[in-house]
Symmetry: C2
Subunit: 362 residues, 2 copies
């Protein structure tokens, strides 16, 4: 079996780790020769030809080389299907899809330009103005009126979202096989700082309706592979889809502690192997290691708390995801307490206060 | 951290797999450039110099290059200690050690040559005559009187063991850390054909006394790392140590389905990291894939039953360990039933009958 992954970051690296036990020829497309996944995966001599050779082609992020993805789709090898990639090219398309399949999102409107965006935002009172393409990890989104100055002059169409008072954020990671089998991992509650996930834990209780929302998203385009759906729970009780990620996802890294991780199930699904349903799962917390290089990493102390996964990036830059720590425990409270200890070890004494806020307020 | 493993077979490969998430420089000494572990581990430019560079040196089999092991021991880097390697150089030494620390084994006697061996064997009635060095996986042992012709002419000292009527065979895999912490994995019952492990399952109930035996073996030389101790349970109720393996072991491969495998704990112990105690463990069966190449491997069917681990050996030879399958289930009965199904898939219809016999009788 030959698997070709578009993108060679940590997500591809972890897919490769989780594929090593079975005879899969695992290759990766990434123009950067120091991409983390090359530590494990092969680099094809001809990126386009590798699409022809592969049994399945998948991707680890949304901004893939679209010509490779389109070729794979034409040959019937791209999983998940191209439609999900296309919808992720634009936050506006994504919101429109959710509306069309009856999945609730934050109330939103399309603005033709920044002037209109500011008018709409003003009518909403407090709002987020988002660039429809290219933003992730908190980039490309602006709070109105707080960041009105940054909104002025933005080019092209914009997405304007009502400000919703958020009680908490959670996500569902799910896997769908070609035969329609679906497996939901237990939901995780996620904690962000300035749009970047800092830590999360699972399981957490969520309203039953969210599974129906994920089902609709999966069935819309006959999804194959692992998907993550991020939700807001508003203070008024509404449960709203924030965004979808048609790939393995940072909020699912904790599943490496189960006996069938999101990475393994993604690889299985795209290769046409049956999904695995994890057995006994312990409450688990995940802590991202952001911007901290090996020299500053208290590895031995962290390994006392849980398991470090290191991504082997060439250089530690601020906010860059360098690795993560998974902590299993007897209860989510214990896992969370150890996560806070890990945050102190990694970032120093002040950090826990910051990360307990789930989202910067406008 | 730098870890250097002497021997590059599947045991080193799995150690390497289980070490990839943490920043360990993992190198392997194996004169064969096609050794499985090189798929994952680095090949040092100078095997002797690598001992000097490493933080810890360990081994994956007993017949290692003794000059490398001795250098590592002299530098205080060899884990487990050299004493365990030395005792494994001779079945006679191993038996003598067990006697000296009060650990029961099959009644045995030392014979100066083959003539004496046959005399002793005759006095015992039925017996095993074993070459003291070099034998493994059922090689170098002969049944008296059945194989008397093969015993004639054997060179040098020989070990003669009483024939014991065996009810079953089981093993304990344990890990000991430098600080003296010991962790026992649940015992596994093992099924052999002609001296080669074919399948096993865990957990199985064993008499409490066996833990004391393992403790004595570990404390004798201040063991560090993972050890396997193989036991016979005689029909008359005696529990006897068959042999020890001062390394990770085939009967512990099922621990890959726990959240802290024998491979991970061996690496942790030899690097001075704290041991991990696995949490929830499902009943698990392990089936060896012997002598079957990729072309004949029913991978998709096996992946429906459990998880295949493939060793990527250059060539499939009869009896050669090519990979294994781990099966987790709700009960050991279910795991064993699926193991039998796997044996049929791998070897054909007649095999299960064969493998249910735990040992060829004299």
């Amino acid at each position: 079996m030959r698997l070709y992954v578009l993108g060679g970051g940590q997500l591809a690296l972890m897919m490769c780790w989780e594929s090593q036990r079975i005879p899969v020829h695992f290759s990766v497309y990434d123009p950067d020769p120091s991409a983390p996944a090359y530590r494990c995966a092969k680099r094809p001599s001809d990126p386009l030809e590798e699409v022809d050779k592969a049994d399945a082609v998948t991707f680890e992020f949304e901004n893939v080389d679209i010509s490779l993805a389109e070729r794979a789709e034409k040959l019937g090898k791209l999983r998940p299907p191209l439609a999900y990639l296309k919808v992720k090219k634009s936050r506006i398309e994504e919101r429109a899809l959710m509306d069309s399949i009856g999945v609730p999102t934050v109330p939103w409107r399309r603005a033709a330009n920044w002037e209109e965006a500011i008018k709409i935002a003003e009518s909403m009172g407090r709002a987020y103005v988002k660039v429809p393409t290219g933003g992730y990890d908190g980039k490309g989104q602006y709070i109105y009126p707080h960041e009105a100055a940054l909104i002025r002059g933005l080019a092209g169409e914009l997405l304007v979202e009502e400000y919703v008072d958020i009680r908490r954020e959670f996500s569902i990671v799910a896997a769908r096989a070609e035969n329609g089998d679906v497996y939901f991992y237990p939901p995780a509650e996620n904690f962000y700082v300035h749009g970047i996930l800092v830590w999360n834990y699972a399981p957490t209780k969520v309203p039953e309706e969210v599974y129906e929302h994920v089902h609709r998203i999966l069935e819309w385009g006959k999804y194959v592979g692992v998907i993550a759906v991020e939700f807001f729970e508003a203070r008024d009780g509404r449960v709203l889809v924030n965004e979808i990620a048609p790939r393995v996802h940072n909020t699912g890294h904790w599943t490496l502690e189960t006996d069938a991780s999101q990475f393994e199930n993604h690889v299985r699904a795209v290769l046409g192997l049956p999904l695995r349903r994890p057995r006994a799962m312990a409450p688990t917390a995940m802590v991202n290691i952001l911007g901290v290089g090996l020299g500053r990493l208290p590895l031995a102390e962290l390994e006392r708390l849980g398991r470090v996964y290191w991504y082997y990036k060439a250089e530690a830059r601020p906010r860059r995801k360098m690795g993560h720590l998974n902590i299993t425990a007897g209860s989510v409270e214990e896992a969370a307490a150890r996560a806070r200890e890990a945050l102190r070890l990694i970032y120093g004494a002040d950090f826990p206060k910051l990360v307990m806020r789930s989202r910067p307020s406008p």
